[in-house]
Each structure stands twice: as C-alpha cells, then as structure tokens.
Symmetry: D2
C-alpha cells in the first residue's frame, strides 16, 4: 500500500555514501535498512552514525533481503558494473553513483539489463537536482538565451587523488551531465589534452573540447591540482548569457542581458572606443533559486519514479551518454589530443 | 645634457594611445611633442586633450622632427611592421604595442633592424610592469614554489571585435608574455582550438595548450565573448601555488602553501576522507604589491634604457618570442588543433 | 561504564532543533532517545526524520525517563527559563539555546540552580566552536595583534521576524559571545540605538556601542532587514588586525600585518601621499581552519564535560555575561541610546 | 564667445588636486592656466606634470589673472573659507573641495557671499557624479523602492591621518552628500559615537545615527582604522532594497526585489521555517551603469553651469546642509553621543 516505506540498502560508506545515508534515512517514504562497507573502519562509523540500521560487509545480504527494494551504490567506479548488475538481477531498483560505469560496454550492458528486468536504473547525477541547474534549464527551455553558441566549464580544486580513476572520470561527469541536459544533441567529437603532473599514471589535469553538430563548442577544464576551488559554467547565447558560479552563496546564477551579436558595422569610431571601456552592455539578473539540498530533491524524485514505475530522466541511457563522451575523451587524452568521434 | 627632456612622438590615438600620451606627457624626463592619427575625430580629441601638443595626420612629420627621439606606436597590429621600420630607419628609438608584428618574418626583420641601427626597440608588454607580476617574478626567482608543474591562464570578457586581428593576437600576448617571463625555456609545441562563433571569420574564442621541454604544461583561454571579465593565472609548483587574479582590487596575488605532492601512500583511510572535505591544506599569503600605474613604471624604465643605451628586457627579441608562439598557435587553430612545433 | 551511551532528549524541533537532533544522533557516545515538540506538524516531521526515536508533545516525559541524562532545549527564548529549571531540578544535564534566558534575573537563578544541583548547564553558543573562532582565540592568546583597540561586528540579513524577541536578542548573542571570549573584561556600559521600522513593536535594526574599562570600543550592528547577508567582525590591534568574514567559504579569517600605529610624524610629505593611494601596508595571511561542523565539535566537548563533570567554558556564568549586556542594551534601546552601566 | 575656453586656476596639488588638474586640463572647454601650491615639492611635481602650465606659490596671482574665471580649491578644510572668500570677492567662480567649510558659520557666510557676488559656488561632491549614484537617484525618483525605511552606510579603510580634521570631516561628507541627495528632508537630530583610538586627539572611528522627520533612520560608520576597504550603502525600502558597493568593479548597484513588509501573520509554521533558510526572497538586478570618470562628468556639468549661469545642484546651499550635519555630529561626538538637533 501507498504508505509502506521503501526499504533501502546502501553499499559504500566512503566519501559520498554518508550523504546518501542521511538523505534516504530522512526521506519520509524510505526506510534505510542496511549499510554495507568492506572497510571495518567505515562500517564502524556507519554503525555509530545509524545505531538503528544494520551494518554488514556482505553485499549479498542486501540482495537477499526481500525488504530491500532499492539499492544505493556508492563504491569506486570500477565496481559499479558488478554491483549494479547483481542488484538488477536480484530484482532491485538501483541508484548508482556517476559515472554509470568505467566503460561504454559495461554501461550499455547495464542499460540493457535494466530494460530486460524492468528495474529502475537511476544514475546519481546529483548536480542536475540543484536549484541552480533547474533554473538554468527553465531559462534554456523558454529560449531566453537565443541560440547557444558556446559552453565553457571549469571545475578545479585541490582534490583527492583517486586510485580508481583519473580526473576526467572523477570530475568531468558533472560538466558532461550538464551538457547532456542543456543540449538536445550529443557531441560529434572530442579532443582532450592533459597531463599526469604527478609521478603516478593518472591524469590530474584535463582540458576537453567538444564539437556539436550545430557548431556549438563546449570546453571543460577539470583539475585536482588547483589551489583554489572554481566551479563555473558560462553559457553564451545570441541573446543572453548565463554564468553559473557554484561557489557563490546566493547569486549562483546570473543572466547577462547581452548576446554575442553586438557587432555593428555602422558603429561609429567613438562608439567603438566607448564599448571597449564599457564592457558590460546590459543589466544583470540573479534569479531566486530553490535552496533545498539537491540530494533530498533527488531522493523525492526517485521515490516518485519507483512508485509510478516511470523512467527517470537520469536513467541508464542518460548515464550511458556521459560514459560515451568520457571514453572518447580518454582515448583522445592518451593520444595527444587526437579528435575522437563519439558514437551516438 | 642629462637634464634635457626626451622628445616623444605618438602615432595612434585610439584605444591605448591616450594612456601612452598621458603617461609620457607626465613623465618628468619626456616631452610629448606630437601626436599623429589619421582619423579626424581622434586627432581632434588629441588636440583638445593636449592643447600644447602638435597634432598631425602625417606620420612622416614625426620622423622628420629632429627633436623627437622616441616614437610610440599604438596603431593596429598589421601596421606595426611598417611604422616601426620607418621609425628605426629614421634613427628613432621605438616603443611599439604588443604584439611586435603580425608575423614572425616581420618581427625578425624588426629585431635585425634594431640591431643594425643601434636603436632601442621596446615592445609595450605593459602587464610585466605591474606590481603583481613583479612580485610573482620575485617569488619565482627565490624558488619558493619548487618546480613549476603547470600554468593555467584565463583572459576573457566582452571585448571589442577587432577588424584587424583575432582574439589570439588581441588577448593572448598578455599571457604569452607572462609565460616568456616566468619560464626559462620556450615551449616546444602548441595546440590551439577555437571557433569564430560569429559570422565573421575572426576567431573570438581560443584555447591554447603549450608543451615545454621540462614537461610543464601551460594552457590559455582567451575570449571576446564572455559576459564576465576574468583575468586569472594559476601557477602550480611542487611546494607552493600562486593565483594571480587581476580583477581583485587589493589581493591580486595569493600564495598557497600547498604543492602538488600531497599524496601520501601511508595515509590512512580516514585521513583521505578528511582531506577531501578539507581541500585547503595550508595558509594563504597575499603579499603587499606596488600600486603604481604599470605604464608609469614602464615609462621610467624606458627612459633609463634610452639614457644608458641598455637593451630593455622587453626588447625585440622578447617580442619575437611571443610572436613565434602566436604564429604557431594560429597555424594550429586553422588546422583543428594540430600540434605545431615552435622554432626556438 | 565508559562505553555506555549518554541518553539524550530534545525539546523544540523548529529552526535549530533539527541541527541538534542530527548532531547528537550521530555523536558516537550519545543516543538520541526522544524529541518533544508541541506543534503536531513539527512532531510529525521529527518522527519521519528519526523513525527510531520516540516523539512526544509532553516535556515531562523526557524528565521522567531515567535513561535521559542530557536535555537539549531549542525552544523560544521566553521558555528557556522554565524548561531549563525543570530539567535541572529533574537531575538532568542541560544544553540550552542562546541566550540563556530572557532576563538577568532568570539567568542568575539558572546559574545558581546549576551550582546547587551540580548539573551541567551548557549554553549553546555554537559560534565559539567554529574553526574560525578557535583560530582567532589562538591568535589573541599568542598576543600577535598587540593591544586590541576596537572590535566592529556586523550581522545582518533578511531574517525571520520572531514573535518572541527583537533583533537584539535574536542576533546579538553571537557577537556578544565573541566579545565575552575575546575580551578579558566585560564592558562597563552600553548605548544602543535602533528602530522597529515595521509596524510591530519589535526592533528589527539595532546598533550597539560598548565601552570597555581599557577604553577599547566595540560596536555591533544587527538587522533583520538587510537584503544582503553580512557576517563580519573586524578586530583592530596595535600590531595586526583580523577580519573574520563568515560568508567567505575558505578564507574566513584574514590577518593583516598592519596595526593602528602607522602614524609617523617624521613622515615626508610625499610618503603621506603615497600612503593614501597604497592603503594596504603589509601582507595578508589567511590561516588554514578546521572545517568540521561546529555543532559536532561542540557535541564532543559537551560529552567530555559530562563524562568528566568539568565545567564547560560556555557554562551558565558565561551565558549570564551575555544576558547582562543584552538587558542593558535593551534598556538603552528603549531610552534613545542612553548610556547604561553594566553590572559585572 | 561660446568657443572661448574658460581659464582655470587650481590651488592645492596634494592628494586630490592632481585629479582636478588632469580633468580640467583635458576638459575641452577649459584651459588650465595656473597651479598654486605652497610646498616646493608639490609645486615641482605640478611643473613636471604640466610643463605648459604656470606654477606658483602665490594664490593672489590666480586672483589677479583676468584670464582665470574659475578657481579650483583643493586645500586643507581649515583653509576653504579663506581661499573661497577671496576668490569670490575677486569675481571668480569657485569649485571647492568638500566639506565646504569647517563650520556652519563659515559655510553660511560663503553661501551669502556667493549670492551677493553672483558667482558660482560649486562644492566638489564628486561622488554624486558617479554612474552608480546617478542610477540610484533615477530609481528613487521612479519610486521603485516604495517608502524608504533606513539607510546604512559604511566607509572604512586604512586611511591617511589628517592633521587637519578628524575622520568625520574627512569621510562622512561622502555619505552625508548621498543622504542629502536621496532624502527630501534634512535630519532632525544626530547622535555620534566614536573614539580617537590613537594618542592624537582626532577621532579615527565614528558612528553616526541620524533621525529624520519621517522616522527613517540613517546610520554611517566611518573609520581610518579598518584593514579592509569597505564602501557600502544599503537603502531599505518597503518594496525593494538597494545595495551600493563601491568596491565592486562592475556590479556596484544591486536592486533586491524584496521590501521590508514580508511579514505575513497567516504564514504557516512550515513557511516560516522555509523563510529562514531561504533568506533571499526575489530576484536581484544589477543595472548597467555609466563608467565615465565622475570628475570628468562633474567638470562638464560645471562648465555648463558657468556658461549658462545656472545654479549647480551641489551649490553652497547643498554644501551647507552637509556642514550643518557635520557640526552637530561633532558636538554629539564630543559629548558622548548626546542627541543634537540640526537646524534646518
């Protein structure tokens, strides 16, 4: 019946897992029943944080528990495929951390498996549930920006050196999920440049250059080696432009009443000089945004999808689009910036 | 005799010319004697601003005036070669706007001509005379940063669409002059990606990726199409990192007590999780900077070079290094990001 | 035995209560056993958030439960006295929201009762447990600032219009707790100016001017009517100055290597002009701060106080010092800024 | 005839004088003919900066020169009265630095003298000619803000310790000129609190509290002892609020779509909690501003007033309003914050 809570099990209580635990514990239609982590230290922390929740180091226990309908997977990327596959085959709905999987082949198989089993495969692109991104999507849908000409995204900080993946797989999924949301088409090709910088083999800095069918260009800079944290996406349209700065506390989104076509051949000489000094050409509006935690919003949406058996917009297919770009970018990165086509 | 003022003539009273005029008018050892501009409107403005200075539309007048020892050239890039050549051949010392010339061949010829005539050829890389850049040079020389691993520079705003050059030639000379100052070596190759974005043929957005012999990587993003003005250079060293943000009023330079080698294999699991949240690893110092106008500083230095006949550090050879990178980047840009070698 | 968890009951699940609930639920040595709220809506939310915790609308239940050793009180200010008194008399240790009570008389009585019962009375001045405040206290103790000359604090935003207290009692306790920590002495007098601004009788804007025995002056501006959120405290010393800006994400504390005695009578005329333009006189250091949630830090400290029966530094006496200033300020506010002495 | 340039003489080439010199030298309808400074060092600098301008240490020379129609006075406040009086009596139009004079009596006499002689007395409240202030005046005139409820202004930095005046006379004229522009009425009373802080007798920190007939309150904080430079004015209206932050490069003026009457008695409990977290209640607009130098704008306006013999809005009467508040504030400051009435 409607008032029954959805039983939830979580695997992975590392960096992101505690956020999932807290939000699904608090979600009014869910019951967090079990947490699984292989590390004794993390398991102990989970037990201390949630005395009323069962803690285990055996993932199979979650699959065997008929009370658990939803499995949350917050483990290293290389293990996403295996945990997700097992959960889907066990008849569970699944939320899995981004990126969906480490390769296109794995991601495709999970998408197919989700179709075959009729289970929900939800990729946790949390970023898309923030008030800022929702507002930007509204603005794009209302066509206020005119034609999009370029998107430039920077996501850099002093981050964790993951042993699991490089900076591309760690940070770029945020930007690529934005691009997959903002753009109707997928990019046709990608060029990626970067460097390991450190002695280890994992790239810590990467620059991605994506080309779209409509000649829009998109560029992402991701880095684990920046002393300052920058999280900024600029969307340039012919009518208006948006700057999304996630480090701002209240004015995360700014809409600039200025497009790219301000060139005027009849402009007089003196106007040109004036324009140089006066580089801001119109008002700036910073819209009110929802400040609700993105993960709480996402949890509610996932519950609704589970209740109504509707396909979430961040489903396996969406996650696969992101993995396709990542894999192509990786190939380019390892080949000195070679232009690599993306299969769509 | 020493107390005689240096006679100065300026050609080009457009965007930058008025700044040169003001600083050399005020410079205590210079006399601004003549201003030349072909546009009647600009000439009229010059005459109104400097009633005591002769205004002309004939550049030859400046060359013929024996009282003029120094010619300042602030005209479109495509004309630098011609004006500079004529001034050197007329026996004048020359300050010319950056970039030195539109091609390597032209720049090389001007360097040679400067050598032959014994006249000073000073390229106006004003940026290098700011208090911020001088402080960064000090820090680099004292080796406080350890080994430099990367430099990332962003210089974007809603700018003038020049009819003369693309965004690469308009904005990148700032960043490349920093790189030529900061790095002992020149880059071995460059890859440049970009797009015209507008209907005209000039690129308005460009991304440059430079590779150095020491495996340092440098990246520059220049754009005329950004609604926000960003002028930020990050220098990542193994011991410390610098962020130079030219939009900051007082804290333009910040030194982060954190290098790139923070990885510790013996780090315990819980430390790793701690490090993720706590991404700032040490103190930040923002050193006191000189706030004197860079152009005034530069004018004093040029006067000293003229008096003592010493070769300025921003001489023709320095300007040529910048033009070599620009030309190679242009070739790469027009060939889809092809890696182009730079002749050093 | 040592490993037994401390039983915790919370009254008030309004604005701040959920934060207390979350932190004491997660605290490894505590068990959150019961939440009490009179509002059915809030009680329902508490029950949904913490399915394993008992929810009640009867405060007496908490007092009657022998398993509850610690009572957390997060109710309106006017009720602090009554709830705290009952809890102390029932033999419970108490954490009560700031300010400790609505009047000096009430606060004094609670202090006395805490002494008589031997129960811990902990006032929840959370702010003092932030990494920023701890670092500032370290700096003050090391005497790096020289003699403190002034403290200026601004705490304004678009806030809730409390029906319970005015802006003085709502916001100033933060600033006054800082002052009580930073200064060895208490102020000798206070003048407060303000205005209701709205039709209701509660002041929404207030300015406090405190005079200390050592002639230090302190000023606080609190407001519910500012469109921007500002939380900034400046501490001016003779050697250095500190700016604590709580809106900054990473650089909350900045130490300016500049004291107030920069006046130099032998200074030449030209130095004076130079100083005007160049208003920053030394380096700025932004120290690394702990980023742990203040309330988690505070919860650990409270547990330690309970275990060791030590008097917390934010005990009833500390809370009373704050209430004494508040009451005097209130008197001044209602008498047009009259200077009101503070009994110490 | 119309095309004749206005002859201009300047007295005082200290901190502000060079800005006046530069702007009036460049102003197309003015000729800067003479600069007077008693200090040999400053006179020498003036001569070096403006080789074509006569430099003297004798103010009388300016008065005796029939070619000089306009005298600019940028000398210490205590000398404003004497220099201005002599210039008016010599038949010159006068621009004098703010504040107009050191006392109400002096200021009143200058106003009367200006009336008697028919000469223009222009007080250099430069701030009022910035693009930001002009935009705010437009917004106030269009009544977009609803009823103004409060104005809060902060103007603090590490400043020059003037031997001439205290911080009140040095910095508050900016804020008071804003208030005199923004408000139709003058304040009825003022209370000022402050402290010398340093060994010298001049106050270096002051807080002003102004009460208006309409019960609007205004507050100004001025200081020479702040390590950070803050220049911010908040205007709270019943419909909208404005924040004017002069430290911002491009977004100096922000209009918050939020008034003070957001209190709603029918608001449900949960809405109240929502409002607390979500303190921004509407969009923010940052209008495009003119970026022309205020002093250039002011010089043009003064020329127009001289040509048409119209009374400038920043005339002696305006300057007198500011001095009246300053004098009353000074009295309050020296009497421990006594409420002092302002004669209007």
């Amino acid at each position: 019946m409607e008032t029954d809570r959805i039983g939830v099990g979580l695997v992975g209580y590392g960096y992101w897992g505690p956020n999932l635990a807290r939000n699904f514990y608090m979600q009014k239609d869910c019951s967090l029943l079990a947490i699984c982590d292989l590390s004794p230290g993390r398991a102990e922390l989970a037990a201390s944080n949630y005395p009323s929740v069962r803690v285990t180091d055996n993932f199979q226990e979650l699959l065997d528990d008929p009370g658990i309908q939803l499995v949350l997977i917050a483990t290293p990327v290389s293990t996403h495929y295996d945990f997700t596959k097992r959960a889907l085959l066990a008849g569970k709905d699944v939320l899995v951390e981004k990126p969906l999987a480490a390769t296109v082949a794995e991601a495709q198989e999970l998408v197919d498996l989700s179709d075959e089993t009729g289970r929900i495969l939800f990729v946790d692109h949390t970023y898309l549930f923030t008030g800022a991104v929702k507002k930007i999507l509204e603005l794009l849908e209302s066509n206020e920006l005119g034609d999009i000409k370029y998107i430039d995204s920077v996501r850099i900080n002093l981050g964790l050196f993951s042993n699991d993946v490089n900076v591309l797989f760690d940070l770029a999924p945020h930007d690529l999920s934005l691009l997959c949301c903002f753009m109707k088409d997928d990019p046709v090709s990608v060029q990626a440049l970067g460097a390991p910088v450190m002695e280890n083999d994992q790239e810590a800095i990467a620059y991605l250059h994506l080309v779209y069918p409509s000649e829009i260009i998109a560029h992402c800079h991701v880095s684990w080696l920046s002393p300052v944290k920058i999280r900024r996406t600029i969307i340039g349209g012919t009518e208006k432009m948006i700057v999304f700065d996630d480090n701002e506390i209240t004015e995360k989104v700014k809409i600039y009443d200025r497009g790219v076509e301000f060139r005027n051949n009849e402009m007089s000489q003196s106007d040109i000089y004036k324009m140089i000094v006066d580089y801001r050409m119109g008002d700036i509006v910073s819209p009110r945004l929802s400040t609700r935690e993105a993960l709480a919003e996402e949890a509610d949406y996932l519950v609704e999808c589970i209740r109504t058996r509707q396909r979430p917009f961040t489903d396996g297919r969406f996650g696969l689009r992101v993995v396709k770009i990542l894999e192509a970018a990786q190939t380019s990165l390892r080949n000195g910036g070679l232009s690599v086509e993306i299969d769509s």
